[in-house]
């Protein structure tokens, strides 16, 4: 249990540090360009790729802390037993959604790596790298929904 909480926090912290480093890199690029020392061509691209990485890294931690935006006022205004039943339904739907995301992202990763698809801009990276965190994130989200279901 403690390892699980640690893992979620570690992922979230990685997202936080990534965004901080990104701000520094983009600033460095602007400064270098304006003092005539050229530009760091890959900065734009790396910052683009970092957004999904940071988002997927922190999503399970946010669910763990119940911070994802949801309309919980209806639940608060109906009888407790009914609200609890609805919450359980939500958890089941959540797990089902995660299962679809995990299954199809794993398929996409395998297909893409088998075909050797590349994304070529300034940097050339294997296309499947972009999707690699998807099954990890949604597995953790599924675990979180399952934990709620048991609670």
């Amino acid at each position: 249990m403690r390892f699980y909480a640690f893992l979620l926090k570690a992922f979230a912290s990685a997202a936080a540090v990534l965004l901080g480093v990104l701000a520094l890199l983009v600033t460095l690029d602007v400064v270098l360009r304006n003092v005539g020392l050229g530009t760091v061509a890959w900065v734009n691209e790396v910052s683009e790729y970092s957004l999904p990485v940071a988002t997927l890294l922190i999503a399970p931690w946010l669910l763990h802390r119940n911070e994802h935006v949801r309309l919980d006022v209806v639940l608060a205004s109906i009888p407790k037993t009914l609200a609890r039943a609805l919450e359980r339904c939500c958890d089941v739907v959540g797990i089902a959604i995660c299962a679809v995301f995990i299954w199809y992202s794993v398929r996409l990763i395998f297909d893409s790596s088998r075909l050797g698809s590349m994304v070529v801009k300034t940097l050339a990276i294997p296309e499947w790298w972009q999707y690699a965190l998807m099954p990890v994130c949604f597995s953790l989200l599924a675990v979180e929904f399952a934990r709620r279901l048991r609670a």
């Binding site: 701000a23 983009v26 994802h68 949801r70 679809v100």
Partner: protein, 438 residues
């Protein structure tokens, strides 16, 4: 399936998922899975759903979002924001309803440096509200301005939600950010006018109290020390975008790093509070962007089901006038704002609204500002406006939700006035960007 039936089923199911309390992002994912299966080609559609998810948020136009949020988080967690508010508190005196006016002015300054509306409300609420209540301010006088100015944060750049709107709607982000300045400032002035008027008419609402006497320089020094640098960061960020020296992302990153540097110069920065600020930034950005994962697929489903085209065609054939359509769109936004969050509002409405904007030839920047004002009002309108809950969470326990609603009402009315004003006088929104982006 006819387009209207498809739309009814899609939005009906989305509403149910929202109502049962599924996180907004998952509500969209659920609809997307069903929609991708039916409209985007079963298996292939679901693979496309994953691809789209990553594509939706792999965008340079979205990267200003975390940086703008970082600016506010750093000021908040290092305590620099408190020093700035204290400095503003010292230079405003002999004004009826002084502390409420301080809240509006501080909120406006803080808006100009923070990309997060909730942070502004939480900060002002936890800092100024106890003080006001202790001084005998009427709760309406104390809570109303704080919530109202938190909403204005969305209009005054830097604003994370403006960036998102520009990115999703395909409106120039720099122009949209700058277009929000005048309506934002006008709203702040209206709020101050209202506070002064109310406090003058009924001084018991905001009892005057002795403010410590201090020489002029002593009053102004903290302002120069703690507020001026923040205002300078704002000016540099906006000027860099307007002059084309930097993209919004670059301006935002430089602004964020400058904010960290300022906190460091004040000796307010520690590793611990920097990490807390970064974690807060990643959290708020994550909440927004996780919903956006569903954006591309959702709009594709609306297109492939015929809902988008069907609705636009039906409106065109009905021959409605431009004003009717515009007002209808605003009413839809105001209605949705009472119930759902701003990111979901954009996801639901933009696929329908932007084709109509093109059809009727509305200025996209002007329309964007109207959209922003409606979203800002959505933060304040009962029953589910997010800032109402933020205020409730920082207010003393004896304050009931009903009282929070009551406190915000005049400011919602003023927001509606502002909406109508910008509708009738588009230059309120478009003059500044036109001037700066010649």
């Amino acid at each position: 399936m006819t387009w209207w039936l498809a739309a009814l089923v899609l939005f009906g199911a989305l509403t149910v998922l929202f109502l049962v309390g599924l996180p907004a992002a998952f509500a969209f994912f659920g609809i997307n899975i069903a929609g991708a299966w039916f409209y985007l080609g079963k298996d292939a559609g679901l693979v496309q759903l994953i691809r789209n998810g990553i594509v939706s948020i792999t965008s340079f136009s979205l990267t200003p979002i975390p940086f703008f949020i970082l600016m506010g988080e750093v000021l908040f967690h290092t305590g620099v924001a408190m020093k700035a508010i204290d400095a503003i508190d010292r230079v405003i005196w002999r004004v009826p309803g002084r502390l409420s006016v301080v809240a509006v002015v501080a909120g406006t300054v803080f808006s100009a440096i923070s990309g997060s509306t909730i942070a502004t409300t939480a900060l002002l609420g936890s800092l100024l509200l106890p003080q006001m209540l202790r001084r005998g301010y009427h709760p309406n006088m104390a809570m109303g301005p704080i919530m109202a100015i938190g909403g204005v944060d969305m209009l005054i750049p830097p604003s994370a939600l403006t960036v998102l709107l520009g990115s999703l709607a395909g409106i120039s982000i720099s122009q949209l950010l700058i277009a929000g300045i005048i309506p934002g400032v006008v709203l702040s002035l209206m709020f101050i006018g209202w506070i002064v008027l109310r406090a003058t008419a009924d001084p018991s609402l905001a009892p005057a109290f002795e403010h410590e006497e201090a020489p002029l320089w002593e009053r102004i020094k903290p302002l120069i020390l703690y507020v001026l640098p923040l205002v300078l960061i704002f000016v540099v960020v906006v000027a860099a975008m307007a002059a084309g020296w930097a993209t919004p992302t670059e301006a935002a990153a430089v602004g964020a790093v400058a904010t960290v540097a300022v906190a460091w110069i004040y000796r307010a920065l520690t590793w611990s509070n920097l990490m807390t600020a970064l974690l807060g930034t990643a959290g708020i950005s994550g909440i927004i962007l996780f919903i956006i994962i569903g954006a591309t697929t959702f709009s594709q489903i609306l297109t492939f089901s015929g809902a988008t085209n069907g609705m636009v065609e039906a409106i065109r054939e009905a021959g409605f006038g431009a004003w009717t359509v515009l007002i209808a769109m605003m009413l839809v936004l105001l209605f949705l704002g009472c119930f759902i969050d701003q990111v979901s509002m954009m996801l639901i409405c933009l696929p329908f609204f932007m084709p109509l904007v093109a059809l009727y030839g509305f200025d996209p920047v002007w329309f964007g500002v109207l959209f922003l004002i409606c979203m800002q009002l959505g933060l304040l309108t009962p029953p589910f406006g997010m800032l109402l809950f933020t205020m409730k969470s920082v207010a003393p326990k004896e304050i009931e939700m009903r009282q929070v609603w009551h406190a915000v009402t005049p400011y919602v009315v003023m927001g509606l006035f502002a909406l109508v004003a910008v509708m009738l006088f588009p230059p309120l929104a478009t003059w500044l960007p036109k001037l700066l982006f010649k």
